[in-house]
Symmetry: C2
């Protein structure tokens, strides 16, 4: 168990280094190193001796924690043993190739260059689903890797009802005049000052920089090398400081979760989130519920003006709040606002579900993508680079991952309602820079539990009864954007 955990963290370090420090010339050797480590992990997970030990453990009288460890490891092991090591190796090679071809193809805006490897990867995903098996339909087998136990049967109606609500909210917002664009949006924001500001915010909200660090990478991410070594990245865009600020807050949401697991769980399968959706609920909550709240902006407006004395000389909190909560259909998911974001996800879910059901082929994907964007958001991508090729996920075989983003928003909303019931003054406290009550509540009700319970049970226990539902998110958006 601990050896498996060590190998997983070593893989995390190899990936972190690849995005932050590695010279580009090191890419081929790094791919080989990652492949070797992943094959070793797979072998250890499939080792018959581990199977025997897990059975023995389950037959003894395991404590609640031991039972959860066994259940978590068995879940991963059951999925792994169904995949022949040769299949894993071939699929991993295709996915590694896929990500690098995707980078080139996106830069060249050439879907034709990307198509063959994507077809290959979709082929592997269909095969993987069959090898792993499912009760409902093939997509379930992929979804289960990110959201254990989640099914299309559960997800599809839930997301369908969310879509109706989001379209209503978006319609209401678009039906009224937008806030005027503040003059600062076309100004320049010193990267060094952005960097210092993000570090200050990390410290303020409670990310422990003594047991972690922040670096720069092209695409922000967070990762744990151990519970005491949690790493975030951000990026600095001279023309938009909010990209760095909200990337840092988002990743710190992930990072504080990892820093908050019960230290007794270190090295065990309990020191992890129950699902990617739960992990995402923490990053989203800090980014949007906290970071895009009025009191947060009021608190940081003078601090931002000090950091960017030229660019923000004439800016007030109202203008900044309007900018960071502007709702507008756009082409790019990662730049979208908190209302349309989930519509971007629903588009991807719809398309990858169709791919897995065999109702859609890769060749038809660009047209299907553009049609769905036009139908859902009223805008048609002018190119595949700004359309179907914008995300890395499919290129490295993460089909089934996208729903976790929206599940994260749904869980965040449920948790937030519970938090506010317990701490009615929490949000007002942000205006004084007080974030500790929120972090402490999350530590106690979510973080420290790790993967002791399933995703939905974790939320149910924390919230005192509410599980996965659409209502809380809709109430949050209706209140914030005055669309009720």
């Amino acid at each position: 168990m601990r050896e498996f955990d060590d190998l997983s963290h070593v893989v995390a370090l190899l990936s972190w280094d690849q995005e932050t420090n590695m010279p580009r010339t090191g890419a081929a050797a790094r791919a080989a190193q990652l492949s070797t480590l992943n094959v070793l992990r797979h072998e250890r997970l499939c080792d018959p001796r581990l199977g025997e030990l897990l059975e023995l453990g389950a037959e003894g009288e395991p404590s609640q924690e031991q039972a959860a460890m066994i259940r978590n490891l068995e879940h991963d092991r059951d999925r792994a043993v169904r995949l022949p090591v040769e299949f894993v190796r071939r699929m991993a090679a295709a996915e590694s190739r896929g990500a690098s071809i995707w980078r080139e193809a996106r830069a060249a805006d050439d879907f034709g260059m990307y198509r063959p490897v994507l077809e290959e990867i979709v082929g592997y995903k269909r095969e993987q689903a069959e090898l792993i098996g499912y009760e409902g339909e093939p997509y379930d087998a992929l979804l289960d890797a990110y959201e254990p136990g989640m099914t299309v049967a559960r997800l599809e109606p839930l997301l369908a009802s969310l879509r109706v609500e989001l379209e209503r909210i978006l319609g209401a917002i678009r039906g009224r005049p937008a806030a005027p664009v503040a003059p600062f949006v076309s100004r320049t924001f010193e990267p060094a000052a952005q960097w210092e500001l993000t570090l200050r915010i990390l410290r303020d909200i409670g990310f422990d920089l003594g047991a972690g660090r922040q670096d720069i990478s092209a695409h922000p991410f967070s990762t744990s090398i151990s519970l005491q070594d949690v790493r975030l990245t951000t990026r600095l865009d001279e023309s938009n400081p909010f990209d760095a600020i909200y990337s840092s807050i988002h990743e710190a949401g992930h990072g504080m979760y990892e820093q908050g697991f019960d230290p007794r769980f270190a090295g065990t399968p309990l020191a992890q989130a129950p699902s990617h959706g739960i992990h995402e609920s923490q990053s989203r909550m800090w980014e949007n519920w906290v970071g895009r709240s009025r009191p947060f902006i009021e608190h940081y407006t003078p601090i931002m003006r000090e950091a960017f004395p030229d660019a923000l000389a004439d800016a007030d909190a109202g203008q900044i709040y309007d900018e960071v909560t502007r709702v507008e259909p756009t082409l790019i998911r990662v730049e979208s606002d908190e209302v349309t974001y989930n519509l971007h996800i629903l588009i991807r879910f719809e398309l990858e579900l169709a791919l897995l059901r065999g109702e859609l082929e890769v060749a038809e994907l660009p047209d299907a993508w553009n049609d769905t964007y036009e139908r859902t958001l009223g805008i048609r991508p002018p190119s595949d680079a700004l359309g179907v090729m914008q995300d890395i996920h499919w290129s490295h075989g993460s089909h089934g991952y996208f729903p976790s983003y929206t599940l994260g928003n749904l869980y965040a909303a449920v948790l937030w309602e519970a938090l506010v019931r317990d701490l009615p003054d929490a949000e007002a406290g942000f205006a004084e820079g007080s974030f500790a009550p929120v972090l402490e509540w999350l530590r106690e009700h979510v973080h420290r539990l790790g993967y002791l319970h399933s995703a939905e049970d974790t939320v149910r226990i924390a919230s005192g009864g509410s599980g996965l539902e659409v209502g809380a998110l809709v109430r949050y958006l209706d209140t914030k954007y005055e669309t009720a």
Copy 2:
């Protein structure tokens, strides 16, 4: 073979990250990760299937390259299979503990705190030598890890004759007036300017920063994550820019060697130096033969004056040359000059040999150390922190490593004589910033060969006949320091 190579490079990355990026709180988990990886490497190396494959390979008709690969892997395997995995695990744990206790004990200047773990480690080293076996004496078994095939029988008389010559040279230098101390030695040198200067020198001498990088660490080192990803570190001391400059040049000597292996050897046991001494010959040659030459200093004096306009306003090349070639007995090996450096090594060799022979016990080490310093260099350490506890090596069980430093100087001298025979104008070219001829010569005669031949054969082929000898180093020092 490639899997073993991948694991070795992953270990290198974990160690690099530990010294450059890891928050201190990550230390315990990192030790566990390194231990897991090292045990996996050991297991793979001892896998009976690898033994069978190596035998099959040797029985076929291997090419020269294949035969060298088999020989190199067999050498490591033969050493590994003699150590039970439980022994390896226990020894590795003691060594990991040793290094961390050493840090504390050195800071507290408390040998008593260090002594128990050092006794334990010396015990493991004696046991390790017996398990591995030897023809001559136990120390041979340890030496062979760093200098395959080298023995005390060969080394002891060689180093004894070197000692006589070094004492003669040191006596001659001390018998004449020292160069006056330049006023700049007590000034301040902007760290940012030091950093830029070291990067410039790296580029100038030929280290490929596009396929590598430089970072900061407490103790400079170099490591390869792959042939295309070679990493150096340096450190910035406000009061002494030469520490950074010569650390960077030294590590670049190692790094350019790694960058120069034949790319066809990537992932095989040929993509490495034949011994640590040969590796050290490259770092020493760039640091001392190149970096501490008059033409080098003449070339860089105006560049350094530009980098440090205040501190070096009144400095000329002569003064800088005098400072970087000042010979003076001091207590600390890593700060010593190129004449006394080898005497520091001879002291360590003498003491660790006595420890392995059982002629000396750890409890007696501080007194023995101080006596030997007084006898050899005429100065007695005022504390154990400045004496027996100054080096990390024994604390993590690298007994048998020290001779490689002096072997490196001996090999460097032999290679340099050969290089100058082929390129009589090489040194003069440094005055114009021309370093490419030296690098090209080393690439062709040393680097690209990797571990195709033994250490001494590599030097013999490169030099056209000269192997390991004391004469070349003595001639170099006699000429440079005018002591002939």
